[in-house]
Each structure stands twice: as structure tokens, then as C-alpha cells.
Symmetry: C2
Subunit: 306 residues, 2 copies
């Protein structure tokens, strides 16, 4: 399996358009040790020819133009077969509407997430330009299914959805209810193999289900949104804590970093990193703690082979 990190930042990217926190100021100024990041997404391929996107962020155009293997060899014949969405947050799915120009695609997600996206957003009619333009396929929790190619045949990959808790997106509060199928992590495997790639960019907290799933990955991208529980309030950038936003902060004894170190033997990479997180600075003590725990920090353009 080939994996490319298309983007590694949380919603808003790094820097974020209306933010002048110390990190955003430093990366805009080109300070050493700071690297700009687009919003979190991976591309995965089982055969090196056909690619599935894990989330489609609003930055998809720039992400694809930075990745030659994701560009078309002939017009309308994109190597992109489709996408899998882990929730209905705009940073996870808005870019789907940027891939509207007449290439057939398969989109996989839970029925709950799909309903939140398509049933009340007529923008999605732009993905129904012809029979077979975008085909939605339902993921059920804890069920491993093959990822098909939109023009027929198999991608050589399969996917399994794991519930990771979490809240409905801000724009669905009062319309949809919190539900285990509103926010998932993914296990992606080459057909016939047991060791998985994990994609868990949005995790509300620990659970036996999560622990069981992570143990089956040989490489896992994990929620690196916030360093501290009170990261935003401490910077005067909002009132909500990390857990109130359904993100498990990295630091502390009950943090995800200590848990990752204990629970997971394979390669671990942080992704979906918020612009306020001190690990964005290469030389910060927090970054050193991450590295000392044997955990990596994903960056845009990173490539892996499993």
C-alpha cells in the first residue's frame, strides 16, 4: 500500500486566515522551524494506479497539484477512484464539491454522515451530472468491505469503520444528534492482509473499541489537534476546551500521547494539528516530548509504503 499525506493541519489549516496567534505569525514570517500545512487528508493506493482519498479537504486543489501521481494522464481520466469521509465536518468533506467536473467517483461513509451531507445541501446535486457520476456506498461500523473502482473492478484495498465518539458538526447542531456513526476512524488494508493503516484524525477519547482497533494497525495517523485541554481559552481564542470540541488532547497523564505510547506498538503519526498546537514548532519542548514518546508529526507531502 502506498500512502501520501495530502494535508496535516486541522480545520482552517496552518496558518488560519483570521488567526495571528504566535504560531500563525511565525509561519507567515517564514521563521525557521515552522512549516505551513493544508487541511488533513491522506491518499492511499493498493496498486499504485488507483487512489482513494481519506477525507477531501477544502485544500484539495492545491494538494492534488502538489502530487504528480494524483494527476490525470488523459482528460477526465483521473487516478482518483473516490473518497472515504470520517465525519461531516467541513474540513473533512467540503473539497468533495471541488471534484465535480465529470469524473465518476465512489464515496464511502456511514449513512448517518451521508444524510448530514447530501439530504439538506443541494450543492451536492453538482455531483449528479450523469448516471454514475458519484455513487455513495454505506459503511457499517466494524465491517470490513472492499473498495470498488467506479468504472468496475477492485482497488485491492478494503476499509473498516470504527466508532470514535465525537459530536455532530457545528452546522448540524440542533438538526442531527450525537451518534456513534457521526464520527469514525478507519482501518485500511490491502486485500488479504491483516495489518492495517489507521486513520483516526478526530478522536474524542479512549475506549476499548479504539484500543482494539489501534492494536491491529502497523501504522496509524492519530488525532494531534490540541496539545492542552485549555489551549484555545488560554490564548483568548474561544471558550471551548479540547474535549468539548471532541478532541482528546495530547498532554498530561490522561492525554493521548501517553496512551499512544502504551497502547500501540507500530508507527504512530500525529495529524489534524491545530494552528495553536505548540508541536508545530520543530524546536518546542512539546515537540521533543512527542518524539521522545516514539511518535512522529505528519507533514504535507510525506510518503509511506506499508
Amino acid at each position: 500500500m502506498r500512502v501520501r499525506v495530502l494535508g496535516s493541519a486541522a480545520g482552517g489549516g496552518f496558518p488560519q486566515w483570521n488567526c495571528a496567534c504566535p504560531n500563525c505569525r511565525a509561519v507567515r514570517a517564514g521563521a525557521e522551524g515552522y512549516t505551513a500545512r493544508t487541511q488533513a487528508s491522506l491518499a492511499v493506493s493498493g496498486d499504485g494506479q488507483n487512489w482513494y482519498l481519506l477525507n477531501i479537504s477544502p485544500d484539495i486543489r492545491a494538494q492534488l497539484e502538489a502530487a504528480p501521481e494524483l494527476q490525470p494522464a488523459s482528460s477526465r481520466a483521473s487516478p482518483i477512484a473516490g473518497a472515504i469521509f470520517i465525519n461531516g465536518d467541513l474540513d473533512a468533506c467540503l473539497g468533495a464539491l471541488c471534484l465535480r467536473e465529470s469524473t465518476p467517483l465512489n464515496f464511502y461513509t456511514t449513512e448517518t454522515i451521508q444524510r448530514g451531507l447530501t439530504s439538506k445541501n443541494q450543492f451536492f446535486r453538482t455531483l449528479q451530472r450523469f448516471e454514475g457520476h458519484v455513487t455513495w456506498r454505506a459503511l457499517k461500523l466494524n465491517e470490513r468491505i472492499a473498495l470498488a473502482l467506479p468504472r468496475g473492478g477492485e482497488s485491492g484495498l478494503d476499509v473498516e469503520a470504527i466508532s470514535v465518539g465525537g459530536k455532530v458538526p457545528v452546522h448540524l447542531v440542533g438538526i442531527e444528534t450525537d451518534d456513534p456513526r457521526q464520527n469514525i476512524g478507519l482501518l485500511v488494508r490491502a486485500r488479504g492482509t491483516d495489518q492495517a493503516l489507521g486513520f483516526f484524525p478526530s478522536v474524542a477519547g479512549p475506549s476499548p473499541e479504539l484500543e482494539g482497533a489501534i492494536a491491529r494497525t502497523q501504522c496509524c495517523f492519530f488525532d494531534g489537534t490540541f496539545w492542552a485541554e485549555d489551549e484555545l481559552p488560554a490564548l483568548g481564542l474561544g471558550e471551548r476546551t479540547a474535549r468539548e470540541m471532541a478532541h482528546w488532547p495530547l498532554s498530561g497523564e490522561a492525554g493521548s500521547l501517553a496512551w499512544l505510547r502504551r497502547s500501540m506498538p507500530g508507527r504512530r503519526l500525529l495529524i489534524h494539528i491545530n494552528n495553536t498546537n505548540p508541536i508545530l514548532y520543530d524546536k518546542s519542548p512539546e515537540r521533543q516530548q512527542v518524539l521522545a514518546a516514539g511518535v512522529e508529526v505528519a507533514h504535507d507531502g510525506m510518503e509511506l509504503r506499508l
Copy 2:
């Protein structure tokens, strides 16, 4: 008035993600004479402090990070006061959802265009995070109104909407009907002055209204989408002609280039240029015809003062 070209391409940008036409192949290969372009949008300011966006394209994040004057001096205090939308096409408005992180904004458009955007797309609830987050203000055709600042006060600019014909966006076909208020051009003026900046990136064809409006501009950005009426079918990239897509092609005796040369004395710049248009190549005969007509080709990052 200060003007910055944030993007100059038509929907999909240049190159377009699933296109391998000769232009897209050349720009990806870094060939001399080809310049990448993001999707069409301008930023305008009357005071050099507060900026209005004309359209918010899906490329807005990258466009703002390339423009220091549009970046915040302190957190959540963006110099962006709001936006004006010329139609409901996704390349004109999808980026609005990327500016959701708690900065008050004023959005101006016709009630018809606003209804197509907000009434059936619950994504827009993400712009209602607090009282006064995004305030929609209605434009009426041929009525000059002041652009207010979202925190109070005046921007020093006013705007007037001109009907330019056109069709409803693809995703609204069968839901909304073609209507003069579905697709507009803009005259933007510094308060108390008569000479306007024109923004007409999507024009179905000539009309007395259009001619009257253009005559009042000292500088006008105009629809440069297609060179030829049969540009897409000739490349095997679809069946629709330029006029069927409500864009007036540049070439020929009945084309917009000859009309611009005849009708408009001021500075004229083509914008919203489709990836298939031969004028994208600096050395093409078509580009030479544009220049010989006294018309410029807008590019990303271009700055003007009126």
C-alpha cells in the same frame, strides 16, 4: 481604490484536477509561457485597511496567504469586511464556507442568489455561530448602495448590481429558474466618485444594459472564459458550447473581444479564464489578438490602483 486579483481562472482553476488538455499538461510541466491560476476573485479596498472580496472562490485560503494586506494583525481581527457574490456557482461562492472561524462579515448579493445559497444548504449554518457572525444584505439591480463594515462604519466603497443574463448554477437546475437576478456584474466605486471598477466575470452576451454599465467604468474585469464557441466540444471535453454555458466567447465578429474594443474606452482585463482557453499561453496567436485589441489578461497577484 486598491484592487488585488486573488484569482483569474474559471471554475476548476488552471490546471484543473482531472484535465490533461494541452494547456493543463503544459502548465503542470512548468513550460515557459504558462502560468498557474486560482479561481476568479478580486479584493477591493477604499481605505487600504478594510477589504471586500468580489466572490469567494474555493481557493480562498491559498489566495489570502499570498496577500499580506489581507492577513490579520491580531487574532480574529481580519481586514476582510465581507464579500459580494455575482452568482451562486460553486467557483464564485464555495470559499465563503472556508471563512467560518468567528470573524463578523457582511455578504452582499441579490435575494435570488442568496436564496439559492442559504435556504437549501445547511452548510451555511456554520456562518451563524454568534449574533452578527454573517449578515446578508440584499442588492437590487441598478441600485447603488454603500458597503458597510460589519463592526459599524463605512468602507468608503459602494456597489451597484447589473444584470448580465445567464443561467442558474448546475446544482440548481430544476429548482430555481433563470432570472436576471441569478447572474450579475458589479460596478464598485469610491464614495462620491463616478468612475467605477467593473467586475463582469460571467456575461451571457451583449445587451444595452451591459453597454451602459461598461461605459461607466474606468477599469473593467470581463468574462474571458472561452476563446471559441465550440471550445469544449472541439477538445472532446463535453458537448456544451460557450453560449449554452452562458459565457460569451471572445473570438469572431460577434465575439466579446471585438465588442470590448468598440464599446469601452478604459482599461480592460480578461478574468475567469477557462483552462482550455488558448490565451493562457503567452505566445499564442490568440493572446496576441487580445493584446492587439488593447485588452489585458489578468493574473493572480496583480495589483491596481484606481
